[in-house]
Assembly symmetry: C3
Homo-oligomer: 340 residues x 3
């Protein structure tokens, strides 16, 4: 399938202003600055790629007014070129038409309820009392557990497991290997041994949530684990029982969030961040990659932790001095007193 459109129409669709080109010039795709041909547009949203901008042969580049003077080809001006890219890429690459029906190798419980126009893929399993909305896509090898609810237009790409107690909203997308609703890690210590705490809550996932490959979200202990609408989760994230994540928060890969922590709305958590349990993070908090969060964050802002990468032999010297840091501070204070 191929989509062609004039630059004028494209400008209108993505909310940009066309400069320097015939408005009737037709384009049929979007590509990187390096690879875009004169029949494709490109975009510029990261100044690390300035050298590529100077050599691009794209029909036009989606760019901000601030950056556009360097651009050797026509421009589509807008404040958020990355948004323009997303909209143009969606326009040029409409999703494939989803199949409808039940694959002959799928197993659907007679007690399950399926919506209209859905698809159940090869070897998928739909257990008893599961309820699927209209236009749901269940890919190959997914397991939809007993009593699970799946909202309309939701897609499980492949190999997704939804355990009993899971409720998904509408237009949710879940990548392969994700596990939603496994037991939370609830243990009580009794004379050194561990007694399992039954995990009786569920997982409630709002509309328009995306969940990445091999991400895990555990069911709640008594109440539910909650992922509010519009949340975007990358790959290999671990979300423990009773975590609550607010609307439109985005979390990058390899983040771990311990039990009962509440994260606000519109937060951005970068890759590899670790977050302890039972704390609160308010709305509009950004945390940079690799940070460890051991206490609540009660004010919006950008937060970080960690130490710089160094050549190993230099690092080694500073690494060992860290153990003397408190003592050094006291010696410094003492010297200051002496000098006074």
């Amino acid at each position: 399938m191929s989509v062609s459109i004039s630059l004028a129409e494209l400008a209108t669709t993505i909310g940009a202003e066309l400069h320097g080109a015939e408005s009737s010039t037709v384009v049929s795709g979007i590509n990187s600055l390096v690879r875009a041909t004169s029949q494709e547009v490109s975009f510029f949203s990261n100044r690390r790629y300035r050298a590529e901008l100077l050599k691009t042969q794209a029909a036009a580049v989606i760019i901000t007014a601030k950056d556009h003077t360097d651009c050797p080809v026509p421009v589509l001006l807008m404040n958020n070129p990355y948004l323009g890219y997303a909209l143009a890429a969606t326009l040029f690459n409409p999703p494939p038409v989803k199949p409808v029906g039940i694959h002959p190798t799928a197993w659907v419980s007679p007690q399950a309820t399926l919506g209209k126009n859905g698809y159940i893929g090869a070897h998928a399993v739909i257990e008893a009392n599961a309820i699927l909305g209209d236009n749901v896509f269940i890919g190959a090898h997914c397991v939809v557990g007993e009593g699970v609810h799946v909202g309309a237009d939701t897609q499980l790409i492949a190999q997704v497991t939804l355990c009993t107690g899971t409720q998904l909203g509408k237009r949710v997308v879940i990548q392969p290997g994700a596990v939603i609703g496994a037991d939370g890690f609830g243990l009580a210590n009794h004379q050194g041994e561990w007694i399992k705490v039954p995990q009786l809550g569920g997982v409630v996932v709002g509309d328009d949530v995306e969940i990445g490959a091999n991400t895990t979200i555990d069911k709640g202990a008594l109440e539910d684990t909650i992922i509010e609408r519009g949340v975007k989760l990358d790959n290999q994230i671990q979300i423990a029982h009773n975590v609550h994540i607010g609307e439109h928060t985005a979390i990058a890969g390899c983040v771990g969030i311990a039990g009962s922590t509440r994260i606000g709305r519109y937060c951005m958590i970068a890759g590899g961040v670790g977050i302890v349990g039972h704390i609160e993070i308010v709305d509009h908090v950004h945390v940079t990659g690799g940070s460890i969060i051991l206490q609540s964050i009660l004010a919006p802002g950008v937060y970080s932790s960690g130490t710089p990468l160094e050549l190993n032999h230099q690092w080694h010297r500073n690494y060992h001095r860290f153990k003397q840091l408190d003592e050094m501070a006291k010696r410094l204070t003492s010297l200051e007193k002496t000098l006074k």
Copy 2:
């Protein structure tokens, strides 16, 4: 299924002392402080939730003698209220009766040996020479590899892979997406390229172990990887070849343990901890979240590493100074000498 019991009976069952209530009051569940009704009990084990305690409407709260004076409702006194919660929750929520038989879509090798009263779920695969004990539950989409042993009463929830060379004890529970017995990361360097070292050991998992969703435990190179009885592993843990984990140690999510490391008994490793290979950690070691362990730990205790989270612009200044730490220490010593 619904379980009702008098507060007096409940107190006896969980080992608590009832105060302030009619011993004949009947309760039928346990819930959080906020949600418990007058027909349910609750528990108080984390002082962060004091405000909720003051407003609870539970029939009784499981609580310590130390904390109980603030409680507005009757109390079930015991030293470890979290244990009381675990026991009460188990009492009120007995596990569902497991099905028995082989799902019509499962594939069981004629060379496999199944125990009594077990269940093999939808699309599960049991390869040749696998031996399953009595009452084993193999959920949908699990793969039990050639020659694998599974002890009695063990449960694989769904999508679990047990590779050749794996032996599971009794009453083991494995959550979805876990992979036990994949090849360890054994590589020898030869003129810059990597030669694979055959991984010839297995994985031996003791009785009463629980393994979380998407956790991976590699088979040993020559000897076995060993997880002793009573060990509890959360989600997304990586355990490399020839690691040995002692009895009743609990490890939280996203921990990575490199090859041949030995961890003692009764340890607690919090989330996101990284542990290098070929070291030893003795019994009764606790490590806090996000710590990196580069050397053996030879004495019991609580250990930590890492730096505090700060607003990004403040952190940035301290972050860069870390590279001068050794030099600062020397300058400080020099100043002290000058002043003497």
Copy 3:
């Protein structure tokens, strides 16, 4: 199957020099220093295990000339004993003969193309237009998506997902639970909400690559994510869209690499390392465990970051002082000026 060989032949095969033994002595396996019998060889490549060397009863030990004086039994001298171990272990343990054919429970699209002498395992799914080379092994429960290419002699052990847009080279090995070609985490922000950026690239994996259990490699946004030949990836690694990893680089477990980062050839990245997006790491860089990389590395060498593990109460004091580090540096400079 059992392989027996004289020590003289073994020496020739692995490139070692035999000392102290009859060259006709026959051995039939390799084992650890502790467990090797007088019919087996062992190897010594890590000085942590010196005590075991002194007590070994192996027929001979593969060891360097430098270390061999301590060895109580005959030796096979070579510069890289770990390589000798890999070669000997491969010699004594030839891989099992792979089955050929299609398991009756597998589902293969009539539009897929299969090579010669391959195997499609139980419940595996091969979608339309997939093209598999000769001698390919597809284990139980693997999903090979529409249009995916799999090179000759490649093995997917079990439960592997290859999404549309994935191309694998020859002799690739993928462990269970790995997901190749899921959507990258591409999002554009529009008034606080996230708009999905279509992920239109693929994943190209070169010859002789190994990919560990539950590792995820996302497809590119516009161009491809590229893993060059000979790269070795351990378990639970996350590789984001448009990452490029050069030949013969080895990456240990739990590493996360954010989008568009380029890693050179012959690098070694230890476990738990986090790497931000849009940076470059040159050839021959080694990074030690748990390091966080926030900037490009433009020279070969060994790099590290992080702070030491301490007893919690000691750590706590130093941890809080980190926030004063920049101020301490300024006070130190000020003292130095005063003294001059």
